[in-house]
Each structure stands twice: as C-alpha cells, then as structure tokens.
C-alpha cells in the first residue's frame, strides 16, 4: 500500500500552481498589451528597445478615432443587432426546445436530426444564396438583413431541449389540470424554470452576435451601418494603421464585453458546463 508522501504532494501542488500562474499571465498578457498600447504615443508603439509601459497616458488617442469614424453609431448598431438576435434566438429556441422535449408528434425525430445537421453548415456555404435571398427581400445594408438570417441556430434549440427534457412532467400536468392552454404552459411554467439555461444561452448568443464579422462584411455597404467588429476591421485595413488609436477603439469596444463577463461570469461558465454535460 502506498500513499504519496506528503512532501512530494506539496512539491506537485507548488509546481502546478506555478504553471497555472504562468498560464494565467499568458492569458492576460495580450489584454495588458492592448491597454498599454492604447495609451502610448505613436512613436512609442514599436520603439526599440520596447516600451512596456507608456511614458505618459495619452488620453487623446481616444476621442480622435471617435470623431473620425462613427464609432458611436457602430456601437449602437452592434448592441441593437446583438440584442435582437438574442431575444429572437431565446424565444424561438425555447419554443422549439419545449416542443421537442415534451410533445410526441409525427416527424419529431426527423425534424430534430435535421436541425442538428444545420450545426455543420458554415456561413461560407450559405452566404452566397443567403445574400441573394436577402437582396430579394430588399434587406441589404439594413438591420433586418443583419438580424433575421442569423437569428436562429441549432445550438440553442439543442440546449433548450436537453434542459427542458429534465423537467418533470408533473408541473405541466398540474397546469393542465388547472385549465391552462398549452402555450400558457410554455410561458408560465417552462420559461421561469429554464431561467438558468436561458440566461446563459442569452449571454452566449449576445457575445457571439456582437463578435460576428463575416455576415456584416458581406451585407453592409455604408459606413454608418457597420458593426463594431466590421468597423474595427476596416479601420485597420486602410492604408496606414494607427495602432494606438486602433487599440484605443478596441479597448472601448471591449468594455461592455468585459462588464458582461465580470458580472455574469459564473452564469456563463455554468452554461458552457451544461453544454458539456449534455453534449
């Protein structure tokens, strides 16, 4: 019988701690770099030897890109689109998840498999036909075009169904005995009970939608309709990139994401964990 000697265990955990801490520094370093670059003067960015910290805080880096480019408008666009996509996704995914989990109707299995299959479909495959569909609807360069086509995804439906599946039928039966119509059951019974997964899915959808580049890239033709990622990307691809201003804008764009993360971090990680358990 062998128990790991105490000192060996202590060494092991000290080593683990050291490695984890180094890893944490690696994770944080790019953020550190973004913040410090945002405050540097232009000559400092790539000076040799390397300036790790700005000599003084150049706050003027921030308003300059804001005035040159409609950053505020981009921000508004992104928030509007991301919120709409999130709401739409939650609504439709929870309805569908409920339907798949708690009802037996013909074609149920086939339809569900079909929906799962769409997870494999990358935007690159659908983007050309989608573009023409959206063009036909007159939605090019519009909010509708940016929201509707990417509103629903298999992931959300799958998640909601797995979660709702676990809810005992007693609650529904009780509501039925009380005379509630089926849709009422969804609204008053199921929705409140799925709150944990709903909020996690909502946050993940919001973040993913905020992050989306390819679809706006294809659809947007005017500067004011750009989203934040698209605006940043085009600001950067122009003739000469002013890195400190770029980083300043990126920092501003990061702030809402960062706030969401800090506030909802536990919920987000719970949501991802749930997908892992049910995957």
């Amino acid at each position: 019988m062998m128990l790991t000697p105490r000192s060996s265990r202590q060494w092991k955990s000290a080593l683990t701690y050291a490695i984890l801490s180094l890893g944490a520094l690696f994770m944080l370093f790019p953020i550190f770099w973004m913040v410090t670059t945002a405050f540097k003067s232009e000559s400092e960015i790539f000076a040799t030897p390397l300036h790790w910290l700005p000599s003084t805080l150049h706050w003027e880096n921030f308003p300059v890109p804001l005035t040159e480019k409609p950053f505020a408008r981009w921000f508004f666009n992104s928030i509007l689109i991301a919120s709409s996509v999130t709401l739409g996704n939650l609504l439709i995914s929870s309805l569908a998840g409920f339907g798949f989990a708690k009802y037996r109707f013909p074609g149920r299995g086939t339809l569900f498999l079909l929906i799962l299959a769409t997870f494999m479909i990358p935007l690159q495959v659908t983007m050309i036909p989608l573009f023409f569909i959206v063009k036909g609807l007159g939605w090019v360069n519009s909010y509708w075009g940016l929201i509707i086509p990417i509103m629903v995804d298999a992931f959300g439906i799958f998640l909601m169904r797995q979660f709702i599946d676990d809810i005992p039928n007693d609650y529904m039966d009780q509501a039925r005995i009380d005379g509630a119509p089926e849709w009422r059951i969804w609204w008053s019974v199921i929705l409140p009970m799925t709150w944990p997964i709903l909020s996690a899915l909502g946050i993940l959808t919001f973040l993913a939608s905020f992050d989306e580049l390819l679809w706006p890239l294809i659809l947007v033709t005017s500067d004011e309709m750009r989203t934040v990622p698209l605006g940043l990307a085009t600001f950067e691809n122009t003739y000469q990139t002013i890195y400190n201003q770029l980083m300043a804008m990126a920092l501003l764009a990061m702030i809402p994401v960062f706030i969401v993360f800090v506030v909802f971090q536990r919920r987000i990680i719970q949501g991802v964990t749930f997908t892992g358990l049910k995957g």
Partner: protein
Amino acid sequence: MHPVQRAAPVPVLARTRKPRREWWGLGFVAPAVLFLLIFSLYPVGNAVYLSFFDFDLFNPARFVGFENYRYLLESDKFHNSVLVTFTYVFGTCGLIWVISFALALAFNQQFRFRNFFIAIYFLPVVMPLVIAAMIWKTMYNPAGPINALLGRDIPWLTSQETVLPAIIVMSVWKGVGYYLILFLAGLRNISRELYEAADLDGSSGWQTLRYITLPLMRPTIVFVVIVSIVIGFKVFVPMFVMTLGGPNDASLVLTLNIYETAFRFSRMGRAAAESVFLFGLLMVFSIVQLRLSRSAR
C-alpha cells in the same frame, strides 16, 4: 379468488384528446424549423445548384456543368488552401485538446483562488475575435513584445514558415478556456471514490489516467473533438484580419478562399463549388467521428 375485471372501455373522447394535444409540439417547433429551412437548409441546396453555374453580381448566370468542380481538382491554389486548412485545424485542435485536458485535470480539485483562475483562463474566450486578432497582430509585429520577450527577430506574420504557427498560437490562446470548462464538466461526473480506490490499490498517476479517467471521459472527449474540429474548419476572422491569406497564400484557409473567390474575384459559381466542398468535408468528418465514437463502445 377471481381477477378484478377492469372492464370499462376507454371513452372515445379521452382517446382522441391526447394525440390532439401532442400536435401542439409541432406548433412550438414550427418557427425554428421554418427559420432553419429558409435560412440554412435551402441555401445549402441552392449553393449546390449555383455551383454548376458561372456568375457574378451583375451578369446573368451561365450554365457550366462540372467545370467549377474540375477547377477544384486541378487548381494548385485550391489544393494549397485545403492543405493550409487541415494544417491549421489539426495543429490548433491537437494543442487545444492536450492543453485543455491537462488544465482540467489540474483544476479538478479545490485550491485557493481556483474560481479566479478559471475566470482568467476563460477571459480570452469572451473577447471578440476581431479584437483578439488585432491585438495579436500588433504583438506579432517584428518590433513588438513577442520578439522582445524571445530576444529574437522573427517575421511572424510575413514569413511562410511561421505564419500558421503564429495564428495557431493565437487560436489556442483564445480557445483553451472554453474546452477547459467542457472537460471539467466531464471530469465532474467521475466520482471521487473511484480515484480513492485506485490510489489505495497503488495506482500511479498515469495508470489512473489511462484506465479510469480517459475511458470515463469518452463522451466528453468525443464531443470536444467534434466541436473543436467543426469550429476549426469554420475559421475566418484571424486570417482575414491578420494576414489576408498571405504571405503567398500560406495562410489562405478554405473559408477565406471562398470569400475572396466570391467577393473579390467575383466568381460566385466557383465559390459555391468550393463551399460545397467545405460542407462535404465537414459532413464526412462529423459522420466519421460519430461512427468511431459509437462503434468502440
């Protein structure tokens, strides 16, 4: 003692009530199905259809049969982007699988600041990919911090040998946190008692890993592998932001190639064919993996 007679036949009303209620399910799933039909499934079919034509945004379409597919078979540029994509996907995924799993093992116990550490590892995951790509692009600048830390002068994004590894490192940085959480979820399901029993039996760390942890983690591992590979094939933003496929197409992944073929070179039919190829690739991979996971059970 004679058996109790349960005689009364089920009333007709009760018999038809239940199935009628089940149809509500169809109503509930209808919006989602409709959406995905219109915006996901139909476009795939349409893309296949379009791949037999040659067209761009302005001129009418011209039927060309399999010419686009012949291009795929013959074009060096296309072959190169397939190779680049595979290199990227398996380079990134391989590293992610190993590192996230190792991290998950380390995090699968209580220690001080554990949750704080987890949050830090997850932070790159929530950062918008565009921003992450831009930051790394500045970091990879020859006069930037990475070269400063290494004490060397490597042309990361402008040299054909280093560009893919550079992007892979960025992708690994961005993704490990996510898969760490997935692996942790799987590890949680393994009861402590199994580990204690193994410890009592004198099992070494490696043996425990091999005979207990890995087999029990199988569903999670399959899930992680499938998801990471699918996401890997879909990669677009880093290459678009950091290198635009260069230098010399050394980072021209399939997705970027498709985009440029469609919107820069205006060969939409050809792009459609390339996207059909990509889709086929993804389907094959997913099916193969699902089969593998199911058969060895």
